[in-house]
Amino acid sequence: MPAKKKLTIQDLAKIREKTKSLMTIRESEGRARVTVHMGTCGIAAGARDIMDTLLGEIGKAKAQDIIVTTSGCAGLCNAEPMMTVELKNQPPVKYGHLTPDKMHKIFVQHILGGQMVAELVLAVGSETVY
C-alpha cells in the first residue's frame, strides 16, 4: 500500500468542508427539508420513483444540506404521490400528483431557487393541530 499523503492545515479544512455537508443530517439542520409522503397510498402511486429522483437530483447538484425524510399518508390519498417542501423560515408547501419530471422542476425552481412552483402547489402552511 502506498504511503498516504500527509495532511496540511489546508487539507484539514478541505476535508472538513467536504464531510461536514454530508454530516449535517446528524444535527437535524439544513437549508431545506423535503418530506416524501410514503404511506401505503403514496408507495402504490409511485412515491419510490419520486424519492429516487429527488436523491438523484441532490447528488447531481451536490446540495448536501437538504434533508430528506419520509412520512406517512397525509390524508389526501388521491393526490399521491405527494411531498412537502420546507425552506428555512417559510411555511411548508405541499405538492401533489407528482411525476419525476414535476419533481425535477420543483427541485430546481423551489428547493434550490426558493420560488415555489405555483401551478403544482396543493396547499401552503400547516394544518391546524388541536
Binding site: 472538513r16 416524501v36 447528488g59 419520509t70
Partner: protein, 605 residues
C-alpha cells in the same frame, strides 16, 4: 463518503454492545439491503450515548427519533414502518417512568435535555473509528491552531486562564502543572494519559476513549507542543478492550494522515504516541504508581516531591493528565479560554462527566455544567429512585469519596463544596442508594475493596485498611463494641497521616463520612444488634406472617436448605436454626407474607 437521506446511529459503547447492539446493527443492515435502501440509508456505529439503562439504542437522523431497548425481532418492523413508510414506531420509543405517552425525540427526553455536552460532544454522533467524521465536526482544528499560530507559552497561558482543573480526582489546575513542566530544561519530556479508571461503578474515561478517541489524541498533541514533549503514552487498563481497540485505530489513522509522527501538519513539530496496557490494579491510577507501571516495574507509588513535572517517567519531566482532562483541551483551544471561563462556578470551570449508577431510574453517563445541584442530577436527569423507594444517600468520588445524605441534595457540585461536605469530586462516580441500603455495609464494601487494592508499601495503609475492614465487618455481624467507633476514627487518622499516596491517605473516608452522617446506623448495629435497613444477614431473620400466608408452598420450593415446613394451605414456618438468610423465600412469595425482622433485638449466639 456519500449522501444518504437518513442515518441510523447505533450506540456501540460497551454497555449497548453487551446488550447486543452489534447484532442490531447487523440486522438493520440486512433488512435495509433486503428492501434495497442501502444507497439511501446509512447505518453508523457510534460511541456511548450515556443512557445505558435503555440499550441497545438507535437514533434516526435527521428526524431525531430515539429508539431504545431494541431486540433483533423489532428490526424488520422498524425498517418497514419508519424507513419505508415514514411512520415512527411508538412502541419502541422511550416512555418516562409514571407516564403513558412515549417521548419520540431524543432532545425532549429529560435524561438528555439537561446535559451540556463538551467533552462528549461527539458521542452518539460520529463513528469513532472514522477520522473523517471527527474532522467533519471541527476535529483537529484546535491542533492546527496550536501548532501553527500559538507559542508554547501562549498555549499554557490559555489553559491556565481557562481555569481547567484535573478531572481525575484531586482537581489540580492543569495549566499550573503544564507551566511547571514547561520550564524544566531537561529533555526528553513525556506526556501520559491516565486511563486507569478503577473506582467501582465508574466508566467516564472508558466512554470518552470509546466514543471520541481522536479528541484525547488531539489534546495530547496540543499538550506536547505546550511543554515540549516528544513522546506520549496512553495508559488504558486491559479490562477496556473496546477502548483499547478504538484508540489503536485512532493512532494508526492519525499517523497515516501525518497528524502524529514527524513534521505534523507540515509545521515541523514532531510527537508520537504509544498505548500501554495496564494490568488492572486500582493503585496504578495514582500518578507515581502509574509511572512505575509504564516503566515496567510493579505499580507502587513513590514519595512526592519531586513531582512528575520535574522528575517523572525515567526521571524526566512528565505531565500526567486524566482522559477527560485531555479531551477537554481541544475544546478550550478551539473556542477560547473566555468561553470555558464562562461555564461553571467561580472555582470550578467547565463541565464534568458523571457515571450515574446504583438505585436510580436512568443509569448512565451524564455531562453537566459544574455547580449543578445534586438534586437536579438525581431527580432531573436520573429520574429519581425506582420502585417508589426513598433516597438515602449518594456516594461520590469512589472509595476515597464519601456518602452524602438527603439533606445535602441541594449542594452544588463543585470541587470545594464536595470536599467541605466530606466527599470529593473524584473521577466522577455517583452511586445512588435507597432506603434499603445499609450504610455500615457500604463502608464495609469500600474498605474490603481498599484492603484488597492497597499495594502494601506503607504499613499504615496495608495494616490499617485491613483492621478497619475487620472491625466494620464485626459490627455488621453483631459483635461490635462501643469502643470500636473511636478506634475506627483513630485508625482512619493514622492511615491518613502516615501513608504516602492518595489511596492510603483517603482510605478512612468510607468510615469517616458514613459516621458523620449516619452514626445512628452504627449505633443500631452495635447497641441494639439490629440492622435498620435489613441488609446485614447476621442481624435479621426471616419469618412468615401468619395472617398473610396462604400456604401455597412457593417459599418451600424455593428454599435451598429445605428449612421451611408446612403443608398445602397451612401457614408455613421457617426453621431459624438452619436458615442461611438467602432471602429466596421472600422473593418467591407472591403475598408479601415473608418479612425480614429487624425491629427487636435479635440475640447473637
Amino acid at each position: 463518503m456519500k449522501q444518504y437521506r437518513s442515518h441510523l446511529l447505533v450506540c456501540a459503547g460497551t454497555g449497548c454492545v453487551s446488550c447486543g447492539s452489534f447484532k442490531i446493527k447487523e440486522a438493520l443492515e440486512k433488512e435495509i439491503k433486503k428492501r434495497n435502501l442501502q444507497d439511501e440509508i446509512q447505518v453508523v456505529a457510534t460511541g456511548c450515548n450515556g443512557f445505558c439503562e435503555r440499550g441497545p439504542i438507535v437514533l434516526v437522523q435527521p428526524d431525531g427519533i430515539f429508539y431504545q431497548l431494541l431486540k433483533v425481532e423489532d428490526v424488520p418492523h422498524l425498517v418497514e414502518e419508519h424507513l419505508v413508510k415514514g411512520r415512527p414506531v411508538k412502541s419502541l420509543m422511550y416512555v418516562p417512568p409514571a407516564e403513558k405517552e412515549p417521548v419520540p425525540k431524543m432532545k425532549d427526553i429529560e435524561f438528555f435535555k439537561h446535559q451540556r455536552l463538551i467533552v462528549l460532544r461527539n458521542r452518539g454522533r460520529i463513528d469513532p473509528e472514522k477520522i473523517e467524521e471527527y474532522i467533519a465536526f471541527d476535529g483537529y482544528e484546535a491542533m492546527g491552531k496550536a501548532l501553527s499560530e500559538m507559542t508554547p507559552a501562549a498555549i499554557v497561558d490559555e489553559i491556565l486562564f481557562s481555569g481547567l482543573r484535573g478531572r481525575g480526582g484531586a482537581g489540580f489546575p492543569t495549566g499550573k502543572k503544564w507551566a511547571a513542566c514547561a520550564k524544566e530544561k531537561a529533555t526528553p519530556k513525556y506526556l501520559i494519559c491516565n486511563g486507569d479508571e478503577g473506582d467501582p461503578g465508574a466508566f467516564m474515561d472508558r466512554s470518552v476513549l470509546e466514543a471520541d478517541p481522536h479528541a484525547v489524541l488531539e489534546g495530547m498533541v496540543i499538550g506536547a507542543k505546550a511543554i515540549g514533549a516528544s513522546k506520549g503514552f496512553i495508559y488504558i487498563r486491559h479490562e477496556y478492550p473496546l477502548a483499547l481497540k478504538r484508540m489503536a485505530i485512532a493512532i494508526d489513522q492519525a499517523r497515516e494522515n501525518g497528524l502524529l509522527g514527524q513534521d505534523i501538519l507540515g509545521t515541523g513539530f514532531a510527537f508520537d504516541l504509544e498505548i500501554v496496557q495496564g494490568a488492572g490494579a486500582f493503585v496504578s491510577g495514582e500518578e507515581t504508581a502509574l509511572l512505575a507501571s509504564v516503566e515496567g516495574q510493579i505499580a507502587m507509588p513513590r514519595q512526592r516531591p519531586p513531582y512528575p513535572a520535574r522528575k517523572g517517567l525515567w526521571g524526566q519531566p512528565t505531565v500526567i493528565n486524566n482522559v477527560e482532562t485531555w479531551a477537554t483541551v481541544p475544546n478550550i483551544i478551539r473556542r477560547g479560554a473566555d468561553w470555558f471561563q464562562g461555564l461553571g462556578t467561580e472555582t470550578s470551570k467547565g463541565t464534568k462527566i458523571f457515571a450515574l449508577v446504583g438505585k436510580i431510574a436512568n443509569t448512565g453517563l451524564v455531562e453537566v455544567p459544574m455547580g449543578i445541584k445534586l438534586r437536579d442530577i438525581v431527580y432531573g436527569i436520573g429520574g429519581g429512585i425506582p420502585d417508589k423507594r426513598d433516597f438515602k444517600a449518594i456516594q461520590i468520588g469512589g472509595p476515597s469519596g464519601g456518602c452524602l445524605p438527603a439533606k445535602l441534595l441541594d449542594l452544588p457540585v463543585d470541587y470545594e463544596s464536595l470536599t467541605a461536605a466530606g466527599a470529593m469530586m473524584g473521577s466522577g462516580g455517583m452511586i445512588v442508594m435507597d432506603d434499603k441500603t445499609c450504610m455500615v455495609d457500604v463502608a464495609k464494601y469500600f474498605l474490603n475493596f481498599l484492603q484488597d487494592e492497597s499495594c502494601g508499601k506503607c504499613v499504615s495503609c496495608r495494616e490499617g485498611t485491613q483492621r478497619m475492614y475487620e472491625i466494620v465487618k464485626g459490627i455488621t455481624e453483631g459483635v461490635g463494641q462501643e469502643s470500636d467507633l473511636d478506634l475506627l476514627e483513630e485508625l482512619a487518622t493514622v492511615c491518613k497521616d502516615a501513608s504516602m499516596c492518595g489511596l492510603g491517605q483517603t482510605a478512612g473516608n468510607p468510615v469517616l463520612t458514613t459516621l458523620r452522617y449516619f452514626r445512628h446506623e452504627y449505633d443500631a448495629h452495635i447497641l441494639d444488634k439490629r440492622c435498620p435497613a435489613g441488609v446485614c444477614k447476621k442481624l435479621i431473620r426471616y419469618v412468615v406472617l401468619a395472617e398473610k400466608c396462604t400456604g401455597c408452598q412457593s417459599c418451600k420450593k424455593a428454599c435451598p436448605k429445605d428449612c421451611i415446613k408446612g403443608t398445602l394451605k397451612d401457614v408455613h414456618l421457617i426453621d431459624q436454626s438452619n436458615c442461611i438468610k438467602c432471602g429466596a423465600c421472600k422473593e418467591a412469595c407472591r403475598f408479601e407474607a415473608i418479612e425480614e425482622q429487624r425491629d427487636e433485638a435479635i440475640q447473637v449466639i
